[in-house]
């Protein structure tokens, strides 16, 4: 594996009719709108450049890319000069050589000549250009005014800024503006005094979000990864897929031997097109963190210390325990959870093991607690359980509804793409109880922010539809051609009823009727309308109803089946879409086919040589309930931490405590592992081959960069456990598992590793009808035939505020941390978010006598935790907010077991709470601190048994 650097064409690639020109005597063709620089690069001629890079529009400041063009005077910059028919270009004349050398002399006269000890040695475009122009001398010397003595800004944990190495090409400033959209950097001063600046602060305390776009754009060592400073430049690389959120960015893992030096976002990745966020770009150090457990362990009781054993002993112990439990309590007394952090192939194997090896359908996945309502709602309306668009579709959106999602924190790379479109003129309607960043941030301002009360999504979506129906804004042609008219008529009569009007729903949502009417008119008449949403929609007792309500709204306005429109769930974990696709739900095989469907079951039975149950299995909350009843005794949990992530923590842990064999497969001894009897050490995304499927149904390859630290990749571990159970499954490579998925799953029929390697990625459905995948769903017809309108009556949640619990708690995520924090808390991302805090409106804080930073008790009918208060006007009065990233906070101790009516997805977003000042941690927190270490002791390891090191 050599180090593959991607070709930099200097300016962005363009589409358009081809024009012909001659460059250095060679006839070339390039799309109209292409720069001469990019046309030359495409033809194999790299014109010297410094301020140009193809992730940014041309800037024309460095004066190094000069060319001569027949019939034109002077030497125009090739980056800002567009190709024209018949143009004749010379890139290398003596005059150009002299000009470029003169420019380089000026640059080098103010640049330290320490190339041999510079961290960018061998990876520096200034160095390359000095070579390319034949620089042998600098007439001006080094004695004039210069910046050599300006100190480094090393405040950011991941990269340094060394102004003395900066050539003020503005690539970092433009990357921050154009690619990331943060506008955190600027050029201060004039002439020789010009300096890149974070606006008075250092990088850490500035508006910088550490996405790395500036570092990637920098042509010198001015902005450099600290890992490169420490280790040197990489020597080999491979393409893989990020293991954080559902955007699924493609990265080049750049390495030295078996050490990762840096992760660099790849232009080849269609989900990210060369961009990244702080997690994927920098927060990968957890993969080799000292807390990694790399030996299998077992123990008879959760009060015993762990005992390290061989893989064989661990498999044998686990299998014997599961067989004992099934012999004692029945076949249905065991089950498992597949991981949305693992690959498609690994989740497919786990559900296969459960259906075949355990002999039941007691398999579920973390989507149960996040996007299961998406699956139910979209399948009901359109016939398939997935979003309708690809990410690039947003570039053609004119009006965007963003509801219950905070993409600048949770899906930052997609947020940058959305912000770019908003800066280019698209309108934005934010429906969220909080004033999220996209309501108003640098060069982005929502046209409407509808700050509804948590729990009233259905009411507000209905109100939007009411305006559209009653004001004659329906796209009648679309509805007539594409939708079931009988269902539509029933729905239209329902939605037109006065109780759905903005004036009536205002009493429920708290959103002014006039604002709702204006937003509805904008969405219906503003051009391409797209709806993006997240867990603020799904994690409610009416999560599925809201999804169907949004489908109604999109169909009524004709916003489906083309670019720029659609219903777009922003999925949480990296492979939550894939885990669902692979048959991780207890009622469905891969491809979302019900287990009771005889023809489908026959196919699986024939392929797997086993009789399969036709009955739905238990969902995660049902498994825990059954455990408390004493009927469910064993669980195999791959890469999930339900003791932290699932609601009503005490209920979860009581359920786990009641089981006789809990198997946890993970990178670390997570919260759930405290209740486990068998620990299978997991493998990180760097240690295995496979695929992830992102929120736009894009299947991308995960490639093994280093050997598994524990000796086995996760798919091999499942095979080992299956073998010990007598359930023989044999695969030599994950590619063979994908071949089986393709044989059994119509939407994956055309997927193979060979095709993925050739095309980079594929969006399902990928089959004979769509051999290269399907970027946009439902183009000519819905998967189910006619689109189905559903009546979506608003039903208030049973979780009510009252005198004891007068506030509503809603929970969410933050940029620097990921999910339960088990990965990000083992990185330096903690510098941004060392603890979960409670955001509370100044009015509510004042009423309780709270000051910024006070320790407060957060109480609900489920439990109590203490955390520090952050007084914030982002909240509305009556609503408080926290994140669930830190185990020591235990945010889910206070969330309840209320859930979505259709899917049992927990209602994380609405919990009635009280907040009051305190001077102590809660009893639950004290007990956790006391017992946490004891439950993690490993026999013979003196330093084990500390509380979770990440905490």
């Amino acid at each position: 594996m050599a180090l593959n650097r991607e070709t930099d064409f200097g300016t962005p690639q363009k589409d358009g009719p081809l024009v012909s020109l001659t460059i250095d005597g060679v006839r070339v063709q390039a799309p109209r709108g292409t720069s001469v620089m990019a046309a030359a690069a495409k033809a194999g001629t790299q014109i010297p450049k410094l301020c140009a890079t193809d992730s940014l529009e041309a800037f024309g400041s460095c004066r190094l890319c000069l060319v001569e063009i027949e019939g034109r005077r002077g030497a125009p910059a090739s980056c800002t000069t567009l190709v024209e028919e018949g143009m004749v270009v010379a890139t290398q004349t003596q005059r150009l050589v002299d000009l470029r050398r003169g420019v380089m002399e000026l640059y080098i006269s103010d640049h330290p000549l320490d190339c041999l000890t510079c961290s960018a040695n061998g990876d520096c475009q200034l160095q390359d250009m000095a070579g390319a122009v034949g620089l042998r001398d600098v007439r001006y010397g080094q004695d004039g005014a210069q910046h050599h003595t300006i100190g480094k800004d090393e405040s950011n944990p991941y990269f340094t800024f060394d102004s003395s190495k900066c050539i003020v090409c503005s690539r970092c400033v433009r990357a921050c503006e154009d690619v990331q959209g943060s506008f955190a950097l600027t050029i201060d001063g004039r002439g020789l005094g010009s300096l890149v600046s974070t606006g008075g602060a250092d990088f850490l305390s500035s508006e910088c979000v550490s996405c790395g776009a500036c570092v990637q754009a920098c042509p010198t060592a001015a902005l450099n990864e600290k890992s490169v400073v420490d280790m040197g430049t990489p020597t080999r690389s491979l393409l893989t897929t990020c293991a954080y959120c559902g955007v699924g960015c493609t990265f080049r893992a750049e390495m030295q031997g078996d050490k990762v030096v840096r992760m660099v976002p790849s232009k080849e990745g269609k989900a990210n097109e060369g961009h990244s966020c702080v997690k994927g770009r920098f927060a990968w150090g957890y993969a080799t963190h000292k807390d990694r457990i790399v030996k299998p362990m077992i123990r008879a009781a959760i009060t015993d210390p762990w005992r390290e054993v061989t893989w064989e002993e661990a498999f044998s112990y686990a299998a014997n325990e599961f067989r004992r439990i099934q012999n004692t309590y029945g076949r249905d007394a065991v089950g498992g959870i597949t991981s949305s952090r693992c690959t498609n192939e690994e989740t497919f194997l786990v559900q296969k093991l459960i259906r075949v090896g355990f002999g039941n359908n007691n398999v579920d996945t973390c989507a149960r607690v996040c996007h299961s309502p998406t699956g139910y709602g979209l399948k009901t309306a359109f016939g398939t359980s997935a979003g309708t668009q690809d990410f690039s579709s947003v570039e053609e959106s004119d009006v965007i509804i963003l509801i219950g999602a905070n993409p600048t924190d949770a899906h930052p790379v997609f947020a940058s793409r959305m912000k770019k479109r908003l800066r280019d003129g698209a309108k934005l309607i934010v429906i969220d109880p909080r004033r999220i960043d996209l309501v108003r941030s640098a060069h982005v301002e929502a046209d409407h922010h509808l700050p509804l009360l948590p729990g009233t999504n259905v009411a507000i979506i209905n109100a939007l539809s009411h305006v559209i129906v009653t004001e004659g804004l329906i796209d009648e042609a679309f509805v007539r051609e594409r939708c079931d008219l009988q269902d539509f008529e029933v729905w239209a009569r329902f939605i037109a009823q006065p109780h759905n009007s903005p004036e009536e729903t205002e009493k429920l949502t708290g959103v002014l009727a006039g604002d709702v009417r204006a937003a509805a008119r904008l969405f219906a008449t503003g051009g391409n309308g797209a709806i993006y949403y997240g867990l603020g929609v799904t994690e409610h007792s009416q999560g599925s109803t809201t999804v169907m309500g949004m489908a109604n709204l999109a169909m009524a306005t004709g916003n489906l089946g083309r670019r720029g429109v659609g219903i777009n769930p922003l999925r949480g974990q990296n492979n939550v879409q894939g885990a669902c696709d692979m048959g991780s739900f207890p009622h469905e095989f891969s491809g979302y086919r019900h287990v009771s469907d005889d023809a489908t079951r026959d196919m699986f039975e024939n392929m797997w040589g086993a009789t399969l149950s036709a009955e739905p299995g238990l969902r995660i909350p049902n498994m825990l309930d059954e455990a408390l009843e004493g009927r469910f005794k064993g669980i195999y949990i791959q890469g999930e931490d339900i003791a932290q992530s699932d609601p009503d923590t005490k209920h979860v842990t009581r359920g786990l405590e009641n089981m006789e064999c809990v198997i946890v497969q993970d990178l670390f001894l997570n919260e759930t592992a405290k209740y486990a009897h068998v620990f299978f050490p997991g493998s990180s995304f760097l240690e295995k081959d496979g695929t992830f499927t992102n929120a736009e149904r894009r299947i991308s390859r995960v490639r093994k960069a280093i050997a598994p630290l524990a000796g086995l990749a996760d798919w091999e571990t499942t095979l080992g456990f299956a073998g010990a159970l007598g359930c023989d499954m044999h695969y030599d490579h994950p590619g063979e598992i994908m071949d089986e998925v393709a044989q059994l799953t119509p939407t994956f029929a055309g997927v193979s590793y060979d095709k993925l390697d050739a095309l980079g990625s594929l969006q399902w459905p990928c089959n004979a009808q769509a051999p290269e995948g399907t970027p946009i769903m439902h183009v000519d017809r819905f998967v189910r035939g006619k689109g189905k309108f559903m009546v979506t009556e608003f039903v208030p949640t049973d979780e009510r505020t009252g005198p004891r619990f007068p506030l509503i708690l809603t929970t969410g995520r933050i940029l620097s941390q990921y999910n339960v924090g088990i990965q990000t808390q083992r990185t330096q991302n903690n510098v941004w978010h060392p603890e979960d805090v409670l955001e509370i409106h100044p009015f509510d804080a004042e009423q309780r006598g709270l000051r910024e930073g006070d320790l407060v008790a957060l109480l609900s009918r489920a439990g109590e935790v203490s955390l520090h208060a952050h007084i914030s006007e982002r909240m509305q009065p009556g609503v408080v907010y926290t994140t669930f990233h830190h185990a020591s906070t235990g945010a889910n101790v206070v969330t309840t077991d209320y859930s979505d009516w259709a899917t049992n997805c927990p209602e994380y977003k609405v919990t009635a709470v009280q907040v009051q000042r305190t001077n102590r941690w809660s009893d639950w927190q004290e007990e956790e601190r006391r017992s946490s270490g004891l439950m993690r002791v490993i026999a013979g390891k003196a330093d084990s048994g500390k509380a979770d090191a990440a905490e």
């Binding site: 249905d332 109803t545 059954e626």
Partner: protein, 78 residues
């Protein structure tokens, strides 16, 4: 699972289907429970029917009685 929780879940489903066109409401509730509830849960709610049906929404009750007639889980042991 506790009867209280099963009743709450069944009632939630019934509340949704109560707003759908009347002809399909009972069948909608029954089909949803048949499709998504494990046989153990179904048997438990049938047992609750036998013990007085306490707390069940009328539509949920009608749907469960309808479902019970054709559900093999109703005829197997807990």
């Amino acid at each position: 699972m506790s009867a209280e929780k099963l009743v709450r879940m069944a009632n939630q489903i019934a509340v949704f289907f109560a707003s759908q066109p009347e002809a399909g409401a009972e069948a909608g509730v029954a089909d949803h429970i048949r499709s998504f509830w494990n046989p153990v849960m179904r048997r438990q709610i049938y047992a609750h029917l036998d013990q007085g049906e306490k707390g069940l929404d009328p539509l949920a009750l009608r749907a469960l009685n309808l479902l019970r007639q054709s559900d093999p889980a109703a005829r197997s042991e807990m």
